[in-house]
């Protein structure tokens, strides 16, 4: 649906569930994603898929991220029905082979284009945490500004960690030209 230089953002498909379930076995991903590490069954991956399909027209837009013809992760914009044009962005690349090579940036830029150009957002926000430096670098490179660090909110691998709130305003967005 959205074609970048390295990635395609497309609809989620039932056959993505198996690969997503594999990603769900990577305990470090939970920490990076600010979620609780727990055993995650295939049924849960299926339920998450069904939920993403069902809620797609309601308040959020879920995309599968595809690279080299493979499902490598997913991303979303949430808050489509909320007033005042604030959308929240989320992205996970579960396939470690695609870390550190600009796939996240490519997908994030596509999401910004989707939010600002197609959906008319005024402000796009996201939350990550202070130890996820790769994500913070990616978001900065895409134009996000750090605006707040709620202190010691999350427990991640042995310690309390600060959250990082970032946002990009419509007038700061470069239109996807870089």
């Amino acid at each position: 649906m959205l074609q970048g230089e390295k990635t395609i953002l497309r609809e989620m498909r039932a056959e993505d569930v198996l690969r997503q379930h594999e990603f769900d076995q990577d305990i470090e991903l939970y920490g990076l994603d600010s979620s609780f590490p727990r055993p995650s069954s295939l049924e849960q991956a299926q339920a998450a898929y069904e939920d993403s399909v069902k809620n797609a027209d309601e308040d959020s837009a879920w995309f599968a991220i595809e690279a080299d013809g493979k499902y490598i992760g997913n991303c979303c914009l949430m808050g489509l029905n909320r007033p005042h044009g604030i959308l929240e962005l989320g992205i996970v690349i579960g396939d470690r082979q695609y870390w550190g090579s600009g796939y996240g940036r490519d997908a994030t830029k596509l999401l910004l284009r989707c939010g600002f150009h197609y959906l008319g957002a005024r402000r796009i926000v996201l939350t990550t945490h202070a130890r996820n430096e790769r994500a913070i670098r990616c978001y900065r490179a895409c134009g996000f500004v750090e605006e707040c660090r709620p202190r010691q909110v999350l427990w991640i691998e042995g310690e309390y960690v600060d959250l990082v709130n970032m946002s990009i305003l419509r007038e700061e967005w470069n239109g996807g030209t870089s």
Binding site: H84, I86, R122, R123, V125, V145, E146, E147, C148, R149, P150, R151, Q152, V153, L154, W155, Y160, N165, S167, L169
Partner: protein, 184 residues
């Protein structure tokens, strides 16, 4: 249940509904609290009361009493959170009671309750950037500004920043020690 020098934090009572209903009509108050300004029927105040007197695991709701009257409400949220991360909210609807330091007294009582009695690790809150009276109050009570979500809320004619603040248990304990030392 919690008694300060001039304020009392107690459960909400049925008699408080009428005054809360009157506060609900104050359109400026809605802006100060980042609520959507709209007409609020009496049933809303009644539902508010019923929600507060029902047992809830995650919420500690108080009515604020001063000068012998109900003047507003305050609450701690996420009580029992596994990571001790609680949120604080406060609303003094009675304009005659603004600027008299009641808010500070209430917040200090809530902090003592949260950190001492509930074992909170951190207590946080959000306030819109134009609500300077509230910002002064929270700063005076030791809250640290963590950042500002830019143009997050619409308040009387413009998009306004939302300020996030927090207080950690060790910061609170240090300020309590200092207060005790000064008192001696």
């Amino acid at each position: 249940m919690l008694k300060g020098e001039r304020v009392l934090l107690r459960p909400m009572q049925q008699e408080d509904i009428a005054r809360q209903h009157a506060f609900n009509q104050d359109v400026q108050l809605a802006g100060l609290e980042c609520r959507t300004a709209r007409p609020a029927p009496l049933e809303k105040a009644q539902a508010f009361y019923e929600m507060r007197v029902k047992p809830a695991d995650h919420l500690a709701p108080f009515a604020i009493e001063a000068e012998g009257q109900y003047i507003g409400h305050c609450e701690l949220w996420n009580v029992g959170d596994r990571y001790g991360n609680l949120a604080l909210t406060i609303s003094i609807g009675a304009r005659a009671c603004w600027g008299k330091g009641y808010g500070r007294e209430v917040v200090r009582l809530l902090l003592g309750y949260g950190f001492h009695y509930l074992g909170a690790r951190r207590i946080h809150l959000e306030v819109q950037a134009k609500n300077e009276r509230a910002l002064r109050c929270f700063r005076a009570c030791g809250f640290v500004e963590e950042g500002r979500l830019r143009k997050e809320v619409w308040v009387e004619g413009e998009y306004t920043d939302l300020v996030r603040m927090s207080l950690l248990g060790e910061e609170w304990a240090a300020s309590e020690k200092e207060a005790a030392y000064v008192a001696r």
